[in-house]
Amino acid sequence: MADAAATAGAAGSGTRSGSKQSTNPADNYHLARRRTLQVVVSSLLTEAGFESAEKASVETLTEMLQSYISEIGRSAKSYCEHTARTQPTLSDIVVTLVEMGFNVDTLPAYAKRSQRMVITAPPVTNQPVTPKALTAGQNRPHPPHIPSHFPEFPDPHTYIKTPTYREPVSDYQVLREKAASQRRDVERALTRFMAKTGETQSLFKDDVSTFPLIAARPFTIPYLTALLPSELEMQQMEETDSSEQDEQTDTENLPLHISPVRRQGTSQGCGEGTAGKVAHPGRQGKKASGGGE
């Protein structure tokens, strides 16, 4: 629904507000649009000679109208993307309407019909504000040789170089320390998470949480996991030695029906490149384990 609404909004009003930033303005926006559409429907009904209408029918018609407009928007977007553009043009809309079985030729006449009601644009109550975080510092004024209609300078932090006075951490020892503890934390968190979420074994009968061991699970084909290098190792191989190229591709193409656990592990533990991914379950795991301790 939210998605449809966003598309409809884009097609209908042509503006894409920053509704994603928070949920409340989006709701407001939604309500406002709804209201506008209701007004439109009501005026059309009035135009058609109705004096009153049940709420439900108005709602239904609103819904239909909204769907219709959404569909126009969606199709128009597709057509425009089809021609490798990002902004729909009039012809996109026209093609869309034609495609939807609408006789475009009648449209100018309809638009100029005499008895039409003019609805005032809804008051823009809360123009979504661009979030503060993105603007930092004072935008630099244009130098004299740049005409003023040119876009403004971007925020200074995007181009200004400030020399730092504190040495970045390049000390080998600290780096190694950091890398080691980071990896250790990640591993610990990840394994704890796995242990929390799955079956475990314990070395102490009275305590199952301090040293949780992920339960041993037999494989149907144990030698595959034991012998084949993991994806992580393959990746390392690639980095350290490119002469083994063909061998790797062979292995990578293997159908992986080995074990879901392993695949998960390999994709998550892929060192720094995917550290973010690893951290995600890790965080939860830490939270959970922190509670346990």
């Binding site: 190694r176 080691a180 009968k205 041993a216 494989f219 149907t220 996991t225 790797q248 592990g265």
Partner: protein, 1199 residues
Amino acid sequence: MPPTGSDPARMNRKKGDKGFESPRPYKLTHQVVCINNINFQRKSVVGFVELTIFPTVANLNRIKLNSKQCRIYRVRINDLEAAFIYNDPTLEVCHSESKQRNLNYFSNAYAAAVSAVDPDAGNGELCIKVPSELWKHVDELKVLKIHINFSLDQPKGGLHFVVPSVEGSMAERGAHVFSCGYQNSTRFWFPCVDSYSELCTWKLEFTVDAAMVAVSNGDLVETVYTHDMRKKTFHYMLTIPTSASNISLAIGPFEILVDPYMHEVTHFCLPQLLPLLKHTTSYLHEVFEFYEEILTCRYPYSCFKTVFIDEAYVEVAAYASMSIFSTNLLHSAMIIDETPLTRRCLAQSLAQQFFGCFISRMSWSDEWVLKGISGYIYGLWMKKTFGVNEYRHWIKEELDKIVAYELKTGGVLLHPIFGGGKEKDNPAPHPHFSIKHPHTLSWEYYTMFQCKAHLVMRLIENRISMEFMLQVFNKLLSLASTASSQKFQSHMWSQMLVSTSGFLKSISNVSGKDIQPLIKQWVDQSGVVKFYGSFAFNRKRNVLELEIKQDYTSPGTQKYVGPLKVTVQELDGSFNHTLQIEENSLKHDIPCHSKSRRNKKKKIPLMNGEEVDMDLSAMDADSPLLWIRIDPDMAVLRKVDSEQADFMWQYQLRYERDVVAQQEAISALERFPTPASRLALTDVLEQEQCFYRVRMAACFCLAKIANSMVSTWTGPPAMKSLFTRMFCCKTCPNIVKTNNFMSFQSYFLQKTMPVAMALLRDVHNLCPKEVLTFILDLIKYNDNRKNKFSDNYYRAEMIDALANSVTPAVSVNNEVRTLDNLNPDVRLILEEITRFLNMEKLLPSYRHTITVSCLRAIRVLQKNGHVPSDPSLFKSYAEYGHFVDIRIAALEAVVDYTKVDRSYEELQWLLTMVQNDPVPYVRHKILNMLTKNPPFTKSMESPLCNEALVDQLWKLMNSGTSHDWRLRCGAVDLYFTLFGLSRPSCLPLPELGLVLNLKEKKAVLNPTIIPEAIAGNQEAAVNPSSHTQLVGFQNPFSSSQDEEEIDMDTVHDSQAFISHHLNMLERPSTPGLSKYRPANSRSALIPQHSAGCDGTPTTKPQWNMELPRKGTGKEQPPLEMSVHAAAAAPLSVFGKEPASSKHSEHHHHHHHEHKKKKKKHKHKHKHKHRRDGRERGRGPLAFPSPAGGRSARSPSLSD
């Protein structure tokens, strides 16, 4: 391709002693094996064999073949139906209701049973009668074609099915099957002459699913699709005469790789492993080239196939033109440690292709020649590939192994001759098994046997030079090649068999040297030599007085007489002396060359010509001796304990260039914990030029010395600063460099040092905190991202190091171990182990080395009382479905737990696994581990030792392991370790000496007592003729089939199973009849065994001629009752019954006996009318003897 009708026997005779006298009255020339259906779901195989044989005696009227487990439907000779009897005494060695429980009795019975079916004694389980129509044909020595239809259902040995339980077709699941076994075990999967000495050409056909590949011996002639295109038939042709024992088969959805260097070589592996296969086999061609070059002989077969399969029986199994390997040998380029091991396996199997497969042996007593030669040329390959140091190190290792084994358990005899009158009555060094037959040997003994064989070959090489040695091999090979190309002259094929005498003759022909004394010493005799050397320097005479004593009275030793080399390093150089060791001379005077006055500043020449500066301040000012080595070339199979001063050992370690000498010095220095030793060891450890294995050994020695000197030790813990210097960052010494394993030598050192360091102990006998922190830091800062190689072995060793650092927990009045009282150091260790073990689940390491180490470490923590002792974790890891290394590690822990906690439950669990585990390797290993680390021994009182256990183990070795020779021998080993040779002490004494045989109305000796008397009789044990008596006496014919309706699992391989099914099929046959054969032999000591099996037609009337047996039911319809009625008194059919009935209350818990009795009664009435019908049809002469081949010969029945 039948050869011409020449008479091989006559040919043999002509050639005299060198020729081969076949023990069989016929010559096999060609065999067809056709397996037309393999069902992976049911694990069954259906097929036929066709043997082309030429009789060599005129009156051949029965043909004995080997067959086990196979269900035989039908036998035809030259298209005529032939009667046959199937009888396998090894199914149940001793009577199940016998109360006899002493091992002496068992091993005699077992040896007798094995030789009763030994093809090399002309015997076999399957005895086929030549139809009388063909007698004339036979008398003309004309060809016979024996056609046998057989099937195999859920084989427990011989063929191993691996069927993973996942979704998909069999091919998608990676299901495969392969042949396996110990020594000649081909009889387990098709009927054949299962002897290494019966060669013939082969045609092999296997029809398999179209997605599968069948790999077998010889050339793939063609593959033909069946009409429905669902299946393919692989036709293999092996034109080089080969023994059945060298025939193999592997079927599976293999990925195929044609060797890029040698197109005649093809590699096969299981799905998805192709990249590993490529890497692993990329080296093989070099091994080929090496062997072909040294042997100056082409690889004898036209093709070679390597197959890598899962759940392998042994890591390497060589068969004719094909080797079967464990899939676990495959590795990627990132793995360091496995690479040399795998290459060694490949080289080993290839060496056996030449000697073992192509050249076969005449008899078991010639096995040492084959194992010796293949091991020896494999050693040459090692020398060339890994260098002289590695080779010498390996030789020393092997020598130490064999010496340790022989001294511990008794001698290893390479060339057992039987029946020969000489002093062969060597008081049997291995009382609990017979060495007369490969199938009765303990596996450990067999490994040691192979080890000794190649060492002895090396001794021969020392004597006659390598050049001659290779000439001899070349001669053997070229003779064999010539013989093998004689397609139609089967009598020539015996040239492809090697015998001890033939081999020795070749040696003397080629070299002109007499090596008889050497052979007598090491081949015909068992035992090793134990030298004690000590010396004194006589300053006045400038003579070294060397005293060499020998211990030749301890078991496993022998006296050495002959030359012995001694190398003396003096100040002026190194000098070799050859001493003559004689009966009574102990002291030897060796003149010294150098004056004891030391020439300062003069370099000292070493053995290899190198001249070095030495700091001579440590040595004795009066003596010019730096060090002395006794037998430096390992030219004697010996153990040398020589006494030298500590500084001499130190000099030897520092300056002697031979790695063996260095290692000897290291092990000697353990006894001298002094700062000087420390310095010497540290220097060696640091020396880059020094052989890495020596440096590794120095690590452990240093740790030991440091512990002995703990109170006076100064400076940081041993090796720490060294490790820091070698492997840690310059700027921050507590952080290890990121891994770079390009230099393998430093890699191995880096792995080993922490493990050794963890053995350090402080004054409180705890691992120093500093060391533990150091190891934990190594783990923490371990970084393998930039490394080309995997660090899994390294990390595993770090865990081993952690485990080594664990010391026993201080226990306050046996409190229960909980988390709260956990030692903080242990907490850190446990933290690491937990993390590693858990990470293994997500990112498994190669061969799960880390899991293995973690499991071991956890067991160490349990054993030291830090963590509650509990086997459940290990039991879960020991389950089928884990990688085999993990399982073994877990099982080892359970075995250890069983011992420490004396847990009956775990012992039972282990024994159940021995019987039921799908992987034979695991079954063997459990028995082996239990034997190595027994829960109790014969000299120990233990609550575990009770009658039920005795019975259980007895049953295991008696009948539960008949499908696997090695397993049975393993069970025997265990039984021996637990209970010793005689009757286990926990058994009650047999109460009754005499048993009244009610049926026969006579008294017999209680069977639990008699055999003891017999077993005590050494004559009976040694003399083969009395063996036959013993067989008869013990009545080794099985009754295990009694359980058939109750326990289908134990019956699959038994005759009962076969007969059972035959009867279901309502097929006429005899095998089943051997069931319930009269147990006459028990009560009456009549030597009856094999009396009539030499081909004389005396017992003809007994033979069953395809009786139209109307199977009345599913019950095994044995005819014993009819026989019982017919065979009157003297040989009671149920001689055994009275014994058991007498003891019936006593036996009540032996349910199998109980069942048996019941069952017999059940059969009784059934057979009454059965017999009637039969007699109507055939008359008394034709009724099949229920005793199978054996009672057939008993006089009472043939009357």
